[in-house]
Every structure is written in structure tokens, then in C-alpha cells.
Amino acid sequence: MTTKNQVILRVENLSQHFKLGRKNILKAMDKVSFTVNKGETFGLVGESGSGKSTTGRSIIRLYNPTDGDVEFLGKRISGKIDKRTESMLRTKMQMIFQDPMASLNPRKTVLDIIAQGLDIHKLYKTKKERNKKVYDILETVGLSKEHAHRYPHEFSGGQRQRIGIARALVVDPEFVIADEAISALDVSIQAQVVNLLKKMQEERELTYIFIAHDLSMVRYISDRIGVMHLGKMVEIGSASNIYNNPIHPYTKSLLSAIPHPNPLLERYRKRVDYDKSNIDYDEGELVEIEKDHFVLGTEGEIKRWTA
């Protein structure tokens, strides 16, 4: 594997507030900071409404963040950016969505869907080269050349997700945000797609942000994990830190809720309820409690949790 300590993405105090009417503001994401290293998979977990998807979308500029900075490959990509940075961002960073049917244009052939990125960025000289690039990427993701002239509805869910992956990878990105990319798929197909994502990562030295609510899958695919709750990043650490030594009570509660495929264990398991009443997210700061393991909390809170 590549050296995993070169920072490729730095997110600092990123906030995304949505106005709901004149008075109410929804803080979908509030002062979130983290870094992602080159070649690693950074998992983002949390329940619905925790801001994990908002984080992904704000990074790739699908939303315009309220506040904060994002730095990618050493360049600032939030706020106003020039055309060259924009074009770099649009090829080097790609996204894979949850519902492959909704994210593929039903009136275009697979060839045109995948080639759209190439067309926009003029990444080929001849039409032949364009088609060859598409055929090649189709083979890479486990489909074949013959599939190129069909329409999305002719494919199964797993195959559609492969098309989504092909579309993301054809422009040769370095960074891919997968937002619930496997949630809509069947168990056996999920494994196929996850293995494909891992293989692509090894072959192309890709960096992933993997957003999902399936915590066992996140654990399996991620090197580092960020746990989000109510728009805040409450804990960041290596996958084993988060799963074997969770500190924040929310992380503990979340982990205790995952059902294990082990009937004997399940029968006696105790779930931990989460009580937020004496935890103030706004007061707390991300504190490093061991190497590469950060927890959001005030001094008093952290003392209580680590005692």
C-alpha cells in the first residue's frame, strides 16, 4: 500500500446551515473538521440527519458551505475558486450516489452516460479514443463492451451501481466520495461492489470517503472513521480505535445497536441508550486522547468518559 500519511483533503470548521423560513436555521453540519490521507478510506457514519451526506456534498461543492474551508491537493476549493481549480476539482474528485437508477439518465445509453465527463473536459482526441476509454472502464468494473449501447433500465441494481462507479472512474480521479453507494443493493451484491471498490483503490491508489449507515460494512472498508451526530463530528479515529475503544457515549450507543449475525450473542446483548442531556456539543472541542483518536467534548466530559 501507499504511504498513508500524506494529507489529500483538509476540512476545517466547515458549516452548512439551511434556512427554514425566516426564523429557523437548520445546522445540518456545524464546524466540522477532519483530514483525509492519500490512499485511505475515510468512513463517515451516523444516523439519518446527522449531516454525513451534507458533509460529502459540501466538500464536492454540491452545496455552498456557510462557513469554513476545504483544501484539496493543497488548493482551496471552498468559496470562490478560479476556473482552473474548478476544472481540476471536477476531474480529480468524483462522487458515487446511493440510488443508481435515480443517478443515471434513463434516456442516454451507458456509453454516453459514462463519456459525459470525458466530453465536458475534452479528455480525448478522437471519437475512437473516447469509446475505447469507455469500453476499457466497463471491463474494469466487471461489465463488458456490449453493455455500452444499452440503457440503464436494462441492468440490475448491482450492474447499475457498477455503471455509476465506471462513470466516476473514467476521468481518472484521485478522490471518490461514495454516498451510501451500496445501501440500495442486496447483501450478496453489496459484497461484490465493495470488493470492486477495494480493488479499484489498490490499482489506482484512490482515496475514498465512504458514507454509510451500515456500520459493519464501514468498519470493514475503512481505515479511519468519523462518527457524526446532529451535525457535529463527535469522534474520529482509526477503525479499530472506534470499534474497540469508543470513548464518546454516542459512539458507544451506536455500536451497541448494531445487530451481529450471531444468534447466541444477540440473545443476551445489552444496548446502551444515549442520553445527551448533560453533554454540550457547542462547548466541546476535538481532543486527541490517544494517537489519531479524537473525541468532541469539554475537559470535564472527557474526564468523565475516560475515567
Binding site: 439519518s48 442486496d186 449475525p261 444515549y274
Partner: protein
């Protein structure tokens, strides 16, 4: 144990533009009193269609070709619409995946609970209201007076699913069918709903058919498990038998393709290919084309059920006495060993 429901050789087809889809191809199972039977399988395996037959809510283009469903000495596939509407919602109740679509957005949730009480039990409006209030409390919602008057959109997802459960329980059903009831919910809420269902089962003595594709959930709720593939049950047994001693290659693939939180594995086993198109159901064992363990006979002849124990059966030729000795994939073996170890560690 007392049988409460018996499904015998059920075959269901759907007429579509492209031809006849054989969605269920000979499904038989028993449901015992007070137990939870989990039916697992991928989309299109026929698990939801099975429950729709039980409820008499099969789509219009669906045809029950063969088989019977015995409940109270009655065959549910043959009785009239009127008779079935006396059973459905009363003796057999169902909860669906998405609580938002199964609730009426224009009615208060309280009235939606009371409605079926008035319909089936002939109580007055006021009596029904106080019973509905009790049910709201029973499913763990506070401030029942206030909640009674609220509309579905004013409740959270977990609370909506609790209301759906309250509606299902309103007429003291004997069988509850839960069709992916937690799939649309967050893990923390899922855990609460699963606990609630188990708690209610103990209190009321319900028999539950639990449809899901999540093996973690199965492990949590099931007494017995039936694994479905391409319109058939391929293996059934107690939860422990299915998780610790699976025999069908499809069950192996299914178990090995979910990551386990506790074991450090670095590659998932993925079943190659996709399920067969049931417009043209394959000859022989439907899983043979995706299986690493397929025998010649699998492509020719459908395997019957072979007995493993009194409660555990699997439909695979691998269990035939003349079959070559085949062991489950290494990944799964290691996993099961580590799961057993884990259990002994906790020493319950």
C-alpha cells in the same frame, strides 16, 4: 408444539407483459405458536410474495397456481373475499417496511388505530378511543392523549413504526407478519423496535413471521430461519443451526458476504453473478450456476430436502449419500469458529 399456520407447496405466478413470472415455486413451511420464523432472501426471492398470499393481498396479476395455506382448518387460498377480510387485520396482521406509506397522511394516527377496532370488534367510538390510547402506551409512546390527535408527519420515523405496530395489534392478532419492519430505520431506532416486538411477543404470545434481508436482525429475533432463493426455500432450521452449521451453498454465500464487526477479515466473499430471471426458471438447482460447489446433477434435477436434524433441512444434492464430501468455504469456517469463541468468552 402447536402448529398455528401451515403452508403447503405454494406456487404463485405473475402475468406480465414479458410472460409468466414464476415468483414462488413450491414453498412449504409451518409456523408454531409463539415462535418467530424469519424468512431471509434477496429481493426477488419471493419472501414478500409469500406473505401477501397469507394476507390475501396478492396483486391482481398474481395467480395462486397450486398449494394451500391452512389456518384454523381453513385454506386461505380458497375462501371468499369476505371471509378473508374477517381474518386479515384481525387474526393475521402485517407491518410493512415504510411506516410513512402505510399510514394515511390525512387522518390522525389515533383514529387510524381506532378504525380497525371499530371495524373488527364493533366497539363504539369512545370505547375504541380509549383502547387506542392504551395501545399507544403499549408500544412505548408517552403522552398518548396528545399523540392520538397528531398526524403521521408530526411523528419521527421510529414513532410512526410504533403506531403501525399499534394498528397491527389493535385486534389482538394471533399471527403478526413483519415485512422488513426496520429496514428504513436507523440502527438505534431499529434496536428499539426489535426490542419492542420481542417484548410484545412475550406479553401477548404472538407468532411472528419476520421477513428481512439483514442477517444481524435475523440473529436477533429469530427462533427458526428459512432461507429463500429464486422462489424456493433452500434451507431451514433453528437460528443456531443456520448460523453455526449451514449446509446449503447459498446459505454459505449469504453468511460469508456480510462483514462481521468482530472479526478482522480483509476480503468479503461475494457470490458471483445475479439471481436467475424467474420468467425462465432454471432447470435443477436454481443456485447451481452461481455456486462453486455445483454438481452435474444440480443442472439436471431439482434437489429434494435432505434431513440434517429433526429441525434442520436443506435442499442440496451435496447432502446425498453419494455426493462428494464438500466443506464450506474457508472464510466462513474461520468466521463460525470465531463466533463460537466469542460466545464462550462472554460465558453466559
Amino acid at each position: 408444539m402447536e402448529k398455528i399456520l401451515e403452508v403447503k407447496n405454494l406456487c404463485v405466478s405473475f402475468k406480465t407483459h414479458n410472460g409468466v413470472v414464476k415468483a414462488i415455486r413450491g414453498v412449504s413451511f409451518d409456523l408454531f405458536k409463539g415462535e418467530t420464523l424469519a424468512i431471509v432472501g434477496e429481493s426477488g426471492s419471493g419472501k414478500s410474495v409469500t406473505t401477501k398470499v397469507l394476507m390475501g393481498i396478492l396483486a391482481k396479476n398474481g395467480i395462486i397456481e397450486e398449494g394451500e395455506v391452512l389456518f384454523d382448518n381453513k385454506d386461505l387460498t380458497k375462501i371468499t373475499k369476505k371471509e378473508i377480510s374477517n381474518i386479515k387485520g384481525k387474526d393475521i396482521a402485517i407491518i410493512f417496511q415504510d411506516p410513512m406509506t402505510s399510514l394515511n397522511p390525512t387522518m390522525t394516527v389515533g383514529y387510524q388505530i381506532a378504525e380497525s377496532i371499530i371495524e373488527h370488534q364493533g366497539l363504539t367510538k369512545n370505547e375504541a378511543k380509549s383502547k387506542a390510547m392504551e395501545l399507544i402506551k403499549l408500544v412505548g409512546i408517552n403522552q398518548s392523549e396528545k399523540r392520538y390527535k397528531q398526524y403521521p408527519h408530526q411523528l419521527s420515523g421510529g414513532m410512526r413504526q410504533r403506531i403501525v405496530i399499534a394498528i397491527a395489534l389493535a385486534c389482538n392478532p394471533r399471527i403478526l407478519i413483519a415485512d422488513e419492519p426496520t429496514t428504513a430505520l436507523d440502527v438505534t431506532i431499529q434496536a428499539q423496535i426489535l426490542d419492542l416486538i420481542k417484548e410484545l411477543q412475550e406479553k401477548i404470545g404472538l407468532s411472528i413471521i419476520f421477513i428481512t434481508h439483514d442477517l444481524g436482525v435475523v440473529a436477533n429475533v429469530a427462533d427458526r430461519v428459512a432461507v429463500m432463493y429464486a422462489g424456493k426455500i433452500v434451507e431451514f432450521g433453528t437460528a443456531e443451526e443456520i448460523f453455526f452449521d449451514p449446509r446449503h451453498p447459498y446459505t454459505w454465500g449469504l453468511l460469508a458476504s456480510v462483514p462481521d464487526l468482530n472479526s478482522e477479515i480483509n476480503k468479503l466473499y461475494a457470490i458471483p453473478g445475479a439471481p436467475p430471471n424467474l420468467l425462465y426458471p432454471p432447470k435443477g438447482d436454481a443456485f447451481a450456476l452461481r455456486s462453486d460447489f455445483a454438481l452435474k446433477v444440480d443442472l439436471e434435477e431439482e434437489p429434494p430436502f435432505f434431513k440434517v436434524t429433526d429441525t434442520h433441512y436443506a435442499a442440496t444434492w451435496l447432502l446425498h449419500e453419494n455426493a462428494p464430501k464438500v466443506e464450506m468455504p474457508e472464510i466462513l469456517k474461520v468466521r463460525i469458529e470465531s463466533m463460537k469463541k466469542e460466545v464462550s468468552q462472554y460465558d453466559y
